[in-house]
Symmetry: C2
Subunit: 326 residues, 2 copies
DNA sequence: TTGTATGCGTTATCAA
DNA sequence: TTGATAACGCATACAA
């Protein structure tokens, strides 16, 4: 690996001059410029970003914290974020946060990371704040918000129109977790004059019980209650898929007897049978905007808050209410 | 951010001594040890890994190159790799290689990365070799191999037993791409005395046409040929899922008229209907072992080559041949 | 056992 | 327009 000094020597100039031309940081004469560039090319010189980081205190390195990469939603979000970062010259590292713990998180400050995106329901956001590193999350109201209200209202309205009166909800998260979707779904139901029954809300045990198996489990619990319902909203599509599987296993027909819809509009929705109604949230765009806002904060640029609109996508999993009781 | 010097001052020792105790690199007296540790804790000191990298020339930073994160197979592989890396103190960055190009790859040198995992069908491996950075790929024979032969033999044998004679193959990759699975499937067919018909092999156009839509497209092409076949092997499950969708759309019943099996054993296999027969490849373990072998190379440790065994998983998508013709 | 001093490859400050 | 040279925070050879 050629160093800057070698380039300087070959070009017959000082290291400072090499910096000037390579970083376009000061005016240099045409003569030296070409000499330096030629020398750099001849030596196949690549600047050492580690050394640069040491003095500039900027690493152009950010991290994304995820805990459920098996959920395609987060993968798409990640793709969107990575793309934006790459375009801006940042490299993004993936931190899979699971049981193992937060020692990995403390490392992020040692590594001089410029910023962090928290792409998960985060319990210990406090730990991250203490790092004094710029970060953005997906949970709270922030610079980039997904506005679920439209789509949720639409979904509930659609169910109402089809005659559904008792709608259950597979929440995925623990009770009392503040999640926009969950408060909005309640509001949407009230708005449509539907009876809101706490017993039809199934909560998760862990911070994020939102996988297929969790949907299956939640539906099992719901059925066990023996309460009447004719439609189900699941926090996300994976849960909805699990729930449908459970209903099938119990010999209950979807959508003939129970209508189901989820959220995220993942690719699988159109593959399964019945195809799954869902809410499209532009996960890729969301991820991209999250990164944009993070980079803006890092670079002390202003960032205009963005509100991402959602859309209800009706597919086969929803049908007219048959007034059947479970 | 407290620096090592501040810790030294507070503890009343030299910076070298601080290094000695923090890195356990030299014997120090109990006295100084506690003094240093206390000072470090008091100042909430975190070593600057960037500075360390500059002198040690080790970044504990590796990259994984992927081009299709929408394929759960790669996600699982990534998870396995990341877990191993994290445990060894490495941070892993994700490089999404798409059309945009390879400028990102040159950056990896500048960032002093310790190693690279190429988790994709790679065209420009040459570019990466030129970086003179340790790397491992998934394509070629290497330190860690997935032995598909068992599972493929099993799969073909199973089909043979069920009366299938003409088996098509959706290859996903471009013709002449050397892929273990594709050469092995041919061998398996010959071994079972099945007629091998080139016309029943559908190739991809791009370097990796292996998504759901590609499977759909490949099956469309296959049907258009009008050649007889009663079973299909798809390079991976996504393609198989696309193929089944296509067959359904054409009113062809799976598995009653056509049997299908894929490869990777992704979660969706058990969700769709019919459930998809597949080959389990322990993607998580594979990813982990890839990382192990990379780290071994980086740290100049010996690495015992590993051969990952595969298993054929029979599910609903395969049934007795009805001798129907398409 | 502990301290001093040098270098890692940059950027940046100040002179020239 | 260019060049010395001092940081940046750490590791380490060598001295003490």
């Amino acid at each position: 690996m050629a160093t800057r000094k070698e380039v300087a020597d070959l070009a017959g100039v000082s290291v400072a001059t090499v910096s000037y031309v390579l970083n376009h940081t000061k005016k240099v004469s045409q003569q030296v410029e070409v000499k330096v560039l030629e020398a750099a090319k001849a030596l196949d010189y690549h600047p050492n970003l580690v050394a640069r980081s040491l003095v500039t205190k900027k690493s152009f390195h950010v991290a994304i914290l995820v805990n459920d990469l098996q959920n395609p939603y987060y993968v798409t979000l990640l793709e969107g974020a990575q793309e934006v970062a790459a375009k801006a010259g940042y490299i993004v590292s993936l931190i899979l946060v699971n049981s193992s713990g937060s020692d990995q998180i403390m490392e992020l400050v040692s590594r001089q990371l410029d910023g962090i995106i928290i792409a998960m329901q985060c319990e210990n956001e406090e730990d991250i704040r203490k790092l004094h590193i710029p970060y953005v999350g997906i949970a709270e109201k922030a610079a980039v918000n997904v506005d679920y209200s439209n789509a949720l209202n639409e979904g509930i309205h659609e169910l109402k129109k089809l005659g559904h009166k008792r709608i259950a909800c597979l929440c995925g998260l623990q009770k009392n977790t503040r999640d926009t979707r969950l408060s909005l779904i309640v509001r949407a139901m009230k708005k449509e004059g539907l009876t809101y029954d706490e017993d039809l809300f199934i909560w998760g045990n862990e911070s994020e019980d939102t996988r297929i198996a969790d949907g299956y489990e939640a539906m099992t619990q719901l059925l066990k209650k023996g309460k009447e319902f004719t439609a189900v909203y699941a926090l996300n599509d994976l849960m909805a898929i699990g729930a449908i599987k459970c209903l099938k296993d119990q010999g209950i027909k979807v959508p003939d007897e129970i209508s189901v819809f989820g959220c995220d509009n993942i690719e699988t929705d159109e593959i399964i049978s019945p195809t799954l109604s869902s809410i499209d949230v532009s996960a890729r765009y969301f991820g991209g905007q999250l990164m944009e806002s993070l980079l803006a904060e890092i670079e002390h640029r202003p960032f205009e808050p963005v509100f991402i609109q959602t859309k209800f996508i009706r597919r086969e999993s929803i049908a007219r209410c048959k007034e059947s009781v479970y």
